[in-house]
């Protein structure tokens, strides 16, 4: 009788539980740190511009007290967490005054996630094909072109090439300059721009992993058997080389809701891209808290799911820690 599967499952369950607990601790520390940092901001930042001019000290204090900003930070923290348990994310203070944050997110996330999802697909398909092309024609023109592209995308600050792409490509192909929900042509450039860096990333790593695999014995054996280079690349090398990449897929998928600050500003996309930065600059504590909590949770969850997925697709990896 074979119990190994059951034993392994049990150990894996324990491992997952411990990993989850540690992730929650990390998340809590990140959240509390940001929460406390925000309480060091000067009180003046909480008022809308006209309020500073027109109202007296007492009204302003009452305004702050109403928002609960004068309580002890730990009281505020407790209030936020207990509200969170009831599904109440609070309301935005300065960026979108008095709008519930849940409504805000429900409005903004679909736009960003829609563009992000398509750009992720473009990134994976184009990036992996590009990486394979670079290995297929290694040290020849295809490789040089691919390397040049990767070099430009990674070395030139993204703002610069995104700006020129918007100006020149939209003129050249006669595409709209800004995003519009109702005009599908205006989606092309933002999706393309969002995928540029992930194309470079996937191409770089697929190439590197495939080149590493090329020297393995099983690859030499496949050649000895008389298989063509194309077949070996596609059927033997690629399948092994793509495994380490899968660990990053969950993170990529979860991060589509984060959006890109530069691209959403350039194309005037009403998404989540610049929300965090704007909220921090304008001291919208409630909004910052929710966003930081959300992004940190997504990134920690992404890494966690990535490890699980890797253990699932790669039989060589066991999640149980060896003693």
């Amino acid at each position: 009788m074979d119990f190994s599967g059951k034993v392994r499952g049990n150990k894996m369950g324990k491992y997952i539980l411990r990993r989850l607990l540690r992730s929650i601790v990390t998340l809590l520390i990140v959240f509390v740190a940001v929460f406390m940092l925000l309480r060091f901001m000067p009180l003046n930042g909480y008022f809308p511009q006209e309020m500073i001019k027109e109202t007296d000290e007492a009204t302003r204090m009452a305004y702050l007290r109403n928002l609960g900003l004068l309580d002890h930070p730990f009281v505020q923290l407790w209030r936020f967490l207990s509200n969170l348990m009831h599904g109440d994310l609070g309301r935005s203070i300065t960026v979108y005054p008095k709008v519930p944050i849940s409504t805000l997110m429900a409005e903004k996330i679909p736009t960003t996630a829609f563009l992000g999802f398509w750009s992720m697909l473009v990134g994976i398909v184009a990036g992996i094909s590009m990486g394979m092309m670079m290995v297929r024609w290694k040290n020849r023109l295809g490789d040089a072109l691919g390397n040049g592209y990767i070099l430009l995308v990674r070395a030139v600050p993204s703002l610069i090439y995104l700006f020129f792409l918007q100006i020149w490509v939209s003129r050249w192909l006669n595409l709209p300059l800004v995003y519009d929900k109702d005009i599908p042509q205006s989606w092309i450039l933002p999706i393309l721009c969002l995928s540029l860096s992930s194309v470079a990333w996937y191409a770089l790593w697929i190439r590197r992993f495939m080149v590493d695999e090329e020297n393995q014995d099983y690859v030499k054996f496949a050649f000895v058997k008389g298989l063509s280079r194309k077949a070996v690349l596609r059927k033997h090398i690629f399948r092994t080389a793509v495994i380490p990449i899968t660990a990053y897929l969950p993170s990529d998928l979860l991060n589509i809701v984060a959006g890109s600050l530069i691209i959403e500003t350039l194309y005037a996309i009403p998404g989540t891209g610049g929300l965090l930065t704007t909220a921090i600059k304008r001291q919208d504590n409630n909004l910052v808290q929710v966003l930081v909590l959300m992004y940190a949770a997504l990134s920690i969850l992404g890494v966690f799911l990535g490890d699980l997925l890797l253990a699932f697709v790669d039989p060589r990896i066991k999640l149980t820690e060896e003693k």
């Binding site: 070099l151 070395a155 530069i262 500003t265």
Partner: protein
């Protein structure tokens, strides 16, 4: 049979052969090749003409950006009150033209290079320096591992804008704020990188062999580990420069970067962007300089990494 013996007899002619003298020193000589890690690294590195050209170009740009402010009499902050000095196209008087306030863009580009370089060097120094020390301790101390990984997760998850804005409130936007906010997070990323490399170097087969042969720890550290780490340090420091210039551009775009009157490449690009449609040269020329620098350092860093890998040595 007899024939053969006779022939051997003939061959054994003492005039043809002399017995060698036994030499103690010669018999104990060990065959050592004159392989030198650094010589091979630099020979491989400078074999490429592209690398030679880029290193020369960067040396020239570096030299110029530090000498120009010393010897030039053009004031990069001098605003012209006459509108005929505004937005001049590039000419012999103003090689890169003038901006919307009549300031000479050529002079500003060199001052910007100098300031951006200084900022980038400081960030590279602190990131790689602190990162390497922290990474070495992290790699050698197993008990620290869970704590440091936790710290890494926490630090990379707190958006840097949070403390950038907070710092800006406490001490106004300046080079120092930008430096602190970028350096406070960069070191742990470098530390993780060095930790992984030190772990793999420490447990690599030649080091285990060295330890088995009884090589003292000091010799292992100085001959086996540090040379590898030094090449990593040079590579990481070179790659830090495009990274820090890129962050400077990004932070300027967000509006939490340098004060507007600071002359840096990032600020010049962001200011040129505003007038791009009317006067494209105001952005194109500083941007070209910036891209040249980041791309060159990126290539140099990567080529150096390749050259420092002993597998690529001849």
């Amino acid at each position: 049979m007899q024939n053969t013996l006779n022939r051997i007899e003939q061959m054994h002619d003492s005039s043809l052969f002399t017995a060698a003298v036994f030499d103690q020193a010669e018999s104990e000589r060990i065959g050592v090749s004159n392989y030198s890690y650094w010589r091979s690294t630099f020979r491989t590195f400078f074999k490429s003409k592209l690398v030679i050209a880029l290193v020369a170009l960067m040396a020239a740009i570096l030299l110029m950006s530090f000498l120009y402010p010393l010897f030039s009499k053009v004031d990069p902050t001098k605003v012209s009150t006459r509108s005929r000095n505004w937005n001049l196209r590039p000419s012999w008087d103003h090689l890169f033209g003038t901006d919307t306030l009549g300031r000479d863009i050529f002079a500003r580009a060199w001052y910007g290079c100098r300031n951006s370089f200084l900022l980038a060097f400081c960030i590279a120094l602190s990131d790689v320096g602190i990162g390497m020390i922290a990474g070495a301790i992290w790699g050698y101390n197993r008990k620290l591992d869970p704590i440091m990984i936790e710290l890494y997760n926490i630090m990379t998850n707190i958006p840097s804008t949070v403390y950038l804005v907070l710092l800006a409130y406490i001490m106004n936007t300046s080079y120092l704020t930008l430096f602190i906010s970028m350096a406070s997070r960069g070191w742990i990323v470098e530390a993780r990188f060095f930790r992984n490399r030190i772990l793999s170097i420490r447990d690599s087969e030649y080091n285990i062999a060295s330890r088995c042969l009884g090589t003292p720890m000091f010799r292992i550290a100085t001959r086996n580990i540090i040379p590898q780490i030094i090449s990593l340090i040079i590579m990481e420091a070179a790659l830090c420069i495009p990274y820090s210039i890129g962050s400077e551009v990004f932070l300027g775009f967000v509006g939490v970067g340098m004060p507007v009157d600071a002359i840096t490449l990032g600020n010049m690009v962001n200011q040129g962007r505003a007038s791009f449609t009317l006067h494209p040269y105001q952005m194109l020329l500083p941007t070209a300089v910036l891209c040249l620098i980041t791309v060159a350092f990126y290539i140099i860093g990567n080529r150096f990494a390749d050259a420092s890998d002993p597998r690529n040595h001849l």
